[in-house]
Each structure stands twice: as structure tokens, then as C-alpha cells.
Amino acid sequence: MPAIGAAIDNGKTEQPYWQRVFAGFEKSKAWMAKAKPDLVIGVYNDHASAFSVEFIPTFALGCAAEFPPADEGWGPRPVPVVKGHPEMASHIAQSVILDEFDLTIVNKMEVDHGLTVPMNLMFGSPKEWPCPVIPLAVNVVMYPPPTGHRCFMLGRAIRKAVESYPEDLRVVIMGTGGMSHQISGPRAGLINSKFDKAFLDNLTKNPKKLARMPHVEYMREAGAEGIEMVMWHVMRGALDDKVNEVYRFYTVPASNTAVGHIILENRRRAAGKGKSARKPARKASRRARR
């Protein structure tokens, strides 16, 4: 069971083991409360909940009005239904498909811990989520996932779409997945903090080069499931080339994985020139899954 979610759902966040993990997100929650986004775009992966092996979309954009929490085998997580933003989602779909990103439109979808646990980490456990969320599910379960570069460029295209939306919204984009983890096979439990920290450094300073990292390097260095980190590039692509790193947190372990988290903001804010879609984007990261 996704261990962080279980710790939240079973009231274990104050236990010393989990306290170390959750304490790292206190500042993030404060940042989010201050950022007050009008909309969150959540880039995440499904874990055999909404999608089995019957169909495996590489990029699936949630365009529904709401996304109930999935039953992952233990009953749905006790979290609020995620409210979507169908108007913006369909606008993004229209824009990015014409920009040659052939994503799948999903009008009915349940969301699993891959989305709702990062939301808990950033928003806590409110009765209702404070803003709408557009889920973007990326296939990182079956190899090959999209390349880091493809993800980065999709982030660019999403930003363009957000900026061309008739209404000026404050948008936070979250990338999730990783960091070091291998949860399958004899090499399970692999952790490479050096790799993770370099990834975070380069995410801030050297994103274009980082996005070119070949898949095999993620798997070799950060574990077979460490390849989930490609999703972070969607977030990074949506930001300016130069960003401010506002916050970072890294710890090992959360159950079977490392936990890393970084908040990045575009530099030009409130400069009052034109209508730049303000995107304090950030990303969350996270986590752990099991």
C-alpha cells in the first residue's frame, strides 16, 4: 500500500518515522497556502487503477468535471473528490494537439494515490480541495515512457495553452514520481541520493540538458521505477528557463523509496508587462509510493 497515503489515512503522521517525512512538507504547505492558485495541473502516474493493460495512453488529460478517488484494493482513500476544470482542460487539449502532442482525452477517470498523495502533501487534508485540478496521467508503468525531452516540450505546449486562455489564472503545475526507487525484482530497495540531488540541481539550473538524459540512465542509477522522474520535465518545461528555487527537501527512506521535493518559481512576477500567465510553478515531488 502506498505508504505515505496509508500514514496519512491512518493518522500516523506524528510517528517519528513519518514525522521526518511530513515535516519536510510544512513549508510547502505554507507556500501553497500563500500562492493560492486558481488551478493546479497535476502530472502524475496511474498505478493499475484507472488504466490496466487494456489500454495504455502515453499522455491522458483529465477533462472531466470531477475525478473520484480510486479503490486501489483497500477501498477508496478518504480524500475529497478532485474537481476538474473542464473549460481549461479542453482548451489545453485543443491547443497542444495542434502543437503536435497527440494526447488522449479522458472524460471519465478515477485518480489514485499517485495524484492524491502529493495533493495531501501540498494541501494537507481539507474537507474539499481548495482549487480545481487538471490531472495529466503519464504512462511510466510500461516501458518506454515518453522521453524526458518529449515531456519537457509538452510542458512548454501546456504553458502556451494556459497563456492563451481567455482568463488570466494563477496556475501551479506539479510534477510527481520517483525519486530513487526500485520496488521490483532482486535489486529492490535501490537508493541513489547522489543521483537524486544532482537531478534536483540540474532541474533548477540545467533543465534542457537534463531532459535529454536517456531512459536507461534513470533505471540504472535510480532504480527501475526511478524512471518516473521523466514526469518532472513536464513541470519544468512549463516554467521559464531561469527560475528561482524556493524550497527543497530530500530524505531517505519513506518505506521503500527516497522522497524529494522542490518548489520553483518563475522570476518575472508582477512585472506588469503583458499577460504572462503567472505560474508559480512548482513541483512537488515526492515520493514514494510504497
Binding site: 500500500m1 505508504a3 498505478h47 493499475a48 490496466s52 493493460v53 487494456e54 495504455i56 479503490d71 486501489e72 484494493g73 483497500w74 508503468v141 510500461m142 516501458y143 518506454p144 525531452h149 530513487s180 526500485q182 520496488i183 521490483s184 525484482g185 532482486p186 535489486r187 529492490a188 530497495g189 535501490l190 537508493i191 541513489n192 541520493s193 547522489k194 543521483f195 540538458k209 535529454r212 536517456p214 531512459h215 536507461v216 540512465e217 533505471m219 540504472r220 542509477e221 527501475a224 521505477e225 531517505v252 527512506p253 518505506s255 521503500n256 527516497a258 510504497r290
Partner: protein
């Protein structure tokens, strides 16, 4: 059919769930997916071999499932997010499964994680010797195509 060779086949202790394994393991994964429903879990537990007949499985795949040989399931096309549902049906935590796949006790596995996890040193490559001086061993020149892709 023999598998095509890939750069990631060189990673030790790892079965990458690629398109080929996805094809091969469709039955394993659909079986595991069926365990999301309580009625199916009960039917499976009542008569495991009989229940498995509902899915397109080879004899090897069925045997791996019945024996709960998780590594073999991965090798034959199972994916961990799916096979974990079988573990849950048996009442096992995920960490129990992880320990099982590594050939360790759950206690030892948990201790390893608390101590910072399994080191990548010596665990990068089946063929290359660990290089103590260098942090990264990059599989340069393994294939012309592969090395070109680095931007």
C-alpha cells in the same frame, strides 16, 4: 521467442516491463487486475488453479502465480503494480513482497531501507566491474544509436 536485446538488459536484478513483456504478460496482469474485486478474490482463493483457467496464461505463468514466485512473474511479463494486487490478496504488505523478491527477510529489508537503502555501487551493471573512482558508469559506445541520442 527470444527477446530482442536492449541496453537495460544489463541492469542487474531488474526485469524491465517493456512492450514485449507487456504483450507476453497480458494474462498475468489481467488476472491480477481482476483481484481488485472482492468476489474474484474469493473465487481465486477457493480454487486457484481453476480460477486461473479464465485467463490466457502459459503453463509457466500459471505455475509462477501458484507458487507465488514474484520474480518469475516479472520475468514472464507481470508488472509489479499488478502483481502487488496478488500480494495484497494474500494479505501481504508491499514491503513483504519487496523483501521476498530480494531474497531477504522483511526485517532485514526494512533495516536496509532505514540505513539508506541498497547502494547503487556494484549494482549498476551485470557486465561492467564497479569502478570505485567514478560515480557513474555510462554505457557509452554500446550501440551507435544509443550514444547519439545523448544531447
Amino acid at each position: 521467442m527470444t527477446r530482442a536485446q536492449h541496453d537495460y538488459d544489463d541492469i542487474p536484478g531488474t526485469f524491465v516491463f517493456d512492450a514485449e513483456r507487456s504483450r507476453q504478460g497480458y494474462g498475468i496482469n489481467m488476472f491480477c487486475m481482476s483481484l481488485m474485486k472482492d468476489a474474484n478474490r474469493k473465487a481465486f482463493k477457493a480454487n486457484e488453479a481453476e480460477y486461473l483457467k479464465k485467463f490466457p496464461l502459459t503453463a509457466e505463468q500459471s505455475a509462477a502465480i501458484l507458487k507465488r514466485d514474484y520474480n518469475r512473474m516479472l520475468e514472464l511479463g507481470g508488472n509489479i503494480y499488478f502483481t502487488a494486487k496478488l500480494g495484497a490478496t494474500d494479505g501481504h504488505s508491499f514491503q513483504h513482497l519487496a523483501a521476498l523478491m530480494t531474497g531477504s527477510t522483511q526485517d532485514d529489508y526494512a533495516k536496509m531501507m532505514l540505513a539508506g537503502g541498497r547502494s547503487v555501487e556494484g549494482n549498476r551493471s551485470k557486465t561492467k566491474k564497479p569502478s570505485p573512482g567514478k560515480a557513474k558508469s555510462k554505457p557509452k559506445g554500446r550501440s551507435k544509436k544509443g550514444s547519439k541520442r545523448r544531447g
